[in-house]
Symmetry: C2
Subunit: 721 residues, 2 copies
């Protein structure tokens, strides 16, 4: 087969995946949505979530148009790329929005159906409905991403035979940027609403979670959908796009034979085929422990993917060493997905020591719960880093000895090694479909539990949704670890791609040969270069600024929500006695307004700081900044996600021992509350942050390098070397 | 004057400083130590603290002897340096021990005397006694450090005319290593005892802080002395030694004219002279706000130092541009000391917005107190990083254009710039005498307050010591910011020195010229080199491991102390009714045993991980590791120190509003308790950690480079480039 065939295969499988997802969606929507009350509640949540998303998209639209014009004027016009960079940016951004919308749509529609399935068909039926709802997400994300990448690759490659790689990365930039804002805005919304509803409802008024008397209950459920669901959907979609385009981009600028690019698209397509099979493998009848069924489906999908990679590699027409090397590095990435899931599970599930140790501290004080949980979070980052480092080392060595890169002087073999790592990161991401299926299943059952509670269904039904929900909490927590690890590998690969795009642009602008340009410019990229060191500190500072702003935004927004809920309870005392209807919409409105007010500054910082650094301090300070942000951001994201997950489950561990309403439980609740914005606002935002820095820099490389040259600070940076 | 004269000046002023410190110590000890009960309490604290320190030193002795033998065999013998590297290592280590001991001695002896001064002479007298006690510390640390450096420089330079620089750094290695263990062990001790005593005493038994009925009260006070006092004394002493020797080392390996080395010693000596004046400038009579008196004394000392730097620079016989440049870079470092103090004050004092914002959140829940405080901590790192980056940039530029480095090919001017930064770091550290005076004054008044409480002195007396104590809390908090910023600059300078020591060693071992060696080896030090990237992740992982272990150690140790105190209250119910005597010694013993049990693993990790990385993954992975640890460790240290300080003062802010014993106060207390181990255990340990990594690597460079060459991984590192 030739180049076009594989890309066409990607397009065709992408379309098939979308069709399959639509089929599953129709199946889910055909399920009984339950009684009128259940439908009313679902409707209220769906309306709030849609209202939030649309307002968020409207707010973002202005920024996206400004950036698209900027890209058109500053990049497409001087590079003569017919506006395709700007177009790809917009399409990538729209894709993220669509992913978020889809996630929200499916989850809100499915919740009452899962609740009804639990009421009428028991555990097996409820599991099936929620799993298929998750599969709608998983399949459509992976399929749309594959479709976009293959499609754009086909188009760009024919329209711009020599210059198609940067526009392709712009697809990733659009996707990352929208995801960043969705993560921050949704993260602030969900945790502020959760915190506000719980603090007044559970703590002050003493009513249970999801109680319909709580004026914040709809906002809380809306938050789950705009934060956890829409956010995670956009996040993994974005990681997929960025990783696969980064690998293709790297293959292109390294001038690798077309088979290497074909291999990337082929493997992505094969993993999608395996995912088709995997979503059907879930055992639902007579299941008592849904988690093991789900794990089995994941393992089967990954196992099948690996087999397909090895078979597929031999159809590429490469010699067998190269084919084996490509299949091996990609498989390496795919198999660490469950490994990272396991590590995350160890640190965040109450079946193991770390969470129990935290629960134990609840006997002493909330303070020691927090100290110990924070310690667990710190420690949990270490094995994940070890896995990332090991994958980097092994895939680098395989690539170094097998990938045929030439024409880059002494760096040729190095770049071959990095391409090996790029394949590993592709392997990690192309199995995203099944991981996201398992992840999306979580909020669906969580929402179903909410519907059961609010609609006043019997306790047995709540028990079923509780089991499903607790499994969902595990899949949600472990997906975070997966998302972070994949972001780390993707960012490393994209970082190297960025450096070479910079060198390429400089060699074009200055009209010098690439090998000369490499040795000239790399002198500016020494670890000891003062610009690099300053940049690295700026990168860490950006991560800190970003974390601080988003963390405090949750507190500020929650405070307004708390005041509103208190006001309603005070002014309408009938609410608590079921005599008056609370005003859900006002709380939804406050959360929406505040979340959107808070998400601009951190988001803009992520755009403005790297641009200014690159333009004025120099390209090498920008490289330092990105590396500083990766090195500081990845472990911090793990810390936040896992400490939060561990606190959450320490609380649950105390609850299942029947110790609810004790001092010990109170201490654990405080830990859980501290962890909430860490795991659902800050941690998840750091992933797209790292990738925005990278993709933004690739897209704007041309302007950055030209400005550096014009200012006379190329290649040394502002501080002379 | 010639080289010897300046070094002799250093020796003479060092000795004068020691004499002056002894004079002040005698003055303090001549003050009335109060009644028998006060003397008894002081005695008990002093005994416990001495017992802990001696046990700690004995535990360390084994490790130090092993390391000294290792240095002797692996470094001194092949380099033929007559065992001087091992000797310097041991002397540096003993110096840190002495500094710690002195700090503990002065504080424990002064506490009852300050209490008595407050009782008989009022605020003015109490301030004078506690300030002079602080000055004993400040002066003796700065003087001993200057004496050791000048003395060893004189000796080494005559005995080893060509090879004296590495042994000089070994002085710093010994100092950092002991400080690291003292910070970790003391930090665990002090916070576990504090937490344990407060949780059972204040929270469960409802008795006030420092109440003599609490079996943990003596351990708590011992902890203040072995943690805050001995730890901070050793920390700043170590930073001083490392920074000044790093600058001298850099001047030596760059082959700068001797005047540049003389300048370093001269400036250190002049700053000491300014400190002699500064400690006498404190206004004590009729003082209402001791903080402004203290700030004035600090500003005066720094102003005088700057004037002396500019005058002194012109005695060096350099041309006026170079003299001005040296004085300017050093002054730049000196003047940022109060700037960093101000920044820290803004984020940690209740006179400003950030702390009040935290206190406001106490109205909602302990969880929002913690979230907001953590956010404040994250944000507080940013202006400090900005100052560090600005100083780095400016001093680099001054050095770049004025310092005469040649013989290093294209890197000569770069190294000149780095020497400029080295001078700025020297400027920041040589004013340490006055900063430490202000800092040590804090625990003295804190202990005095404890004596007043335990001895049952009247409330007016407690009010005086409370005012002094609250000022002391501010100076203590701000000194942490100073210590971290100075560690960051020192580490950056030492890092570059390390790289060049590695290149030098390789050029000697391989018999190649230095310019060729630079261009050959620097290819391994690209930011994009896979070994460097892996090393950077390992460095961050080390910081996380270290933070996690020390944080959780506090929780574990506190738990044992809690159980012991509960046991005593249970088995001897007479204690609470003042009828039975609590067993203080048992709690002291538990804290001592556990703290020493917990400090080995993190400390050994800081030695073993860099050595293994350097030997097996390669010198460039080691460089990545150190840079990763600096970039991740410095902001984390600021975060931990400032969040902790902010929580502490948010609690105090609520207390001064008369809201003690409210729900709001309880929430703030939880924040304070979370912050305690962050600010007093983890944060302070990260400083010496960074410097141990650096100095250890310099000392073991010869072995690391030889092994890399023998393994065939020089200069590319384990992963081929």
């Amino acid at each position: 087969m030739n180049m076009i065939s594989y890309a066409l295969l990607g397009v065709i499988l992408g379309i098939s995946g979308v069709i399959y997802a639509v089929y599953l969606a129709v199946w889910v929507l055909r399920q009984d949505p339950g009684n009128e009350k259940m439908r009313f509640i679902s409707q209220a949540i769906a309306t709030g979530a849609r209202a939030y998303l649309f307002r968020q998209y409207r707010t973002l639209a202005v920024l996206l148009v400004i950036l698209a014009v900027l890209i058109l004027v500053a990049i497409d016009m001087p590079r003569r790329t017919f506006g395709l960079t700007a177009l790809a940016f917009i399409v990538g951004a729209l894709g993220s929005m669509l992913a978020g919308y889809l996630g929200m749509y499916v989850t809100t529609r499915s919740a009452s159906r899962v609740a009804q399935a639990a009421a009428t068909g028991g555990m097996g039926k409820a599991l099936l409905v929620s799993w298929r709802a998750g599969a709608v997400m998983g399949l459509s994300l992976a399929s749309i991403a594959l479709l976009l990448i293959s499609g754009f690759y086909l188009v760009f490659r024919s329209v711009l035979p020599d210059d198609w790689a940067v526009p392709l990365v712009a697809l990733g930039f659009g996707a990352s940027l929208v995801t960043l804002f969705m993560r921050v805005g949704g993260g602030i919304y969900t945790k502020a609403a959760d915190l506000g509803a719980d603090l007044v409802g559970k703590v002050e008024a003493g009513i249970p979670e999801d109680d319909p008397r709580n004026p914040g209950v709809i906002a809380d459920n809306v938050g789950d959908n705009v934060g956890d669901v829409a956010g995670m959907a956009a996040d993994v979609y974005e990681s997929y796009i960025v990783t696969v385009t980064a690998a293709i981009f790297l293959a292109a600028i390294l001038g690798l034979p077309t088979q290497f690019i074909e291999a990337i698209i082929l493997f992505a397509a094969l993993a999608l085929v395996a995912t088709f099979a995997g979503v059907n493998l879930l055992k639902t009848t007579g299941v008592k422990h849904p988690l093991s069924s789900i794990s089995l489906a994941i393992y089967a999908t990954i196992g099948l993917s690996v087999v397909l990679f090895f078979i597929g590699a031999f159809t590429l027409g490469l010699d067998s060493t190269k084919a084996l090397a490509l299949a091996a590095t990609t498989s390496l990435g795919a198999v660490i997905a469950p490994l990272i899931v396991k590590i995350t599970d160890y640190y965040t599930s109450y079946n193991y020591g770390p969470v129990r140790k935290i629960a134990e501290q609840a006997k002493i004080s909330p303070a020691t719960v927090i100290i110990t949980g924070y310690g667990v979070g710190l420690m949990s980052a270490i094995p994940v880093i070890a896995v990332i480092v090991a994958v980097l080392g092994i895939s680098y060595m395989i690539g170094y000895y097998t990938v045929p890169v030439s024409g880059f002087g002494e760096l040729s073999k190095y770049l071959a090694g990095i391409f090996g790592t790029a394949m590993a990161s592709v392997g990690l991401l192309v199995v995203a479909g099944i991981i996201i299926t398992a992840d999306s299943y979580g909020p669906v059952s969580d929402n179903a539990g909410g519907v059961v509670e609010m609609a006043g269904l019997p306790d047995e039904v709540r028990e079923i949704t509780d089991v499903l929900d607790s499994v969902g909490n595990t899949t949600k927590a472990t997906t975070k670890g997966y998302a972070i690890a994949s972001a780390a590998l993707a960012a490393l690969v994209l970082f190297i791609a960025l450096i070479f795009e910079i060198v390429y642009s400089a060699s074009k602008i200055l009209g010098k040969g690439i090998v000369d340009m490499i040795s000239e410019s790399l002198s500016g990229l020494q670890l000891i270069n003062a610009n690099v060191l300053i940049g690295a500190f700026l990168g860490v500072a950006l991560v800190y600024f970003f974390s601080s702003r988003t963390l405090e935004a949750v507190g500020r927004t929650a405070m307004e929500i708390v005041e509103e809920i208190r006001r309603q309870f005070r002014e309408k005392p009938g609410i608590l006695e079921w005599k008056e209807q609370p005003d859900y919409a006002r709380v939804v409105d406050i959360a929406t307004r505040r979340a959107l007010g808070e998400f601009l500054i951190p988001g803009l910082a992520a755009i403005v700081l790297p641009l200014i650094t690159g333009l004025l301090l120099g390209w090498n300070a920008l490289a330092g900044l990105i590396m500083g942000a990766i090195v500081a951001g990845v472990p911090r994201a793990l810390l936040m996600a896992n400490a939060g997950g561990a606190w959450d489950n320490a609380k649950k561990y105390i609850e299942i021992q029947g110790l609810k309403k004790t001092e010990m439980h109170k201490a654990a609740v405080i830990g859980d509350t501290v962890g909430d914005p860490m795991k659902d606002t800050v941690g998840p935002s750091l992933n797209p942050l790292i990738k925005v820095l990278n993709t933004l820099s690739v897209v704007f490389t041309y302007v950055i390098v030209s400005t550096n040259i014009a200012l006379g600070i190329w290649p040394s940076g502002l501080l002379p070397f």
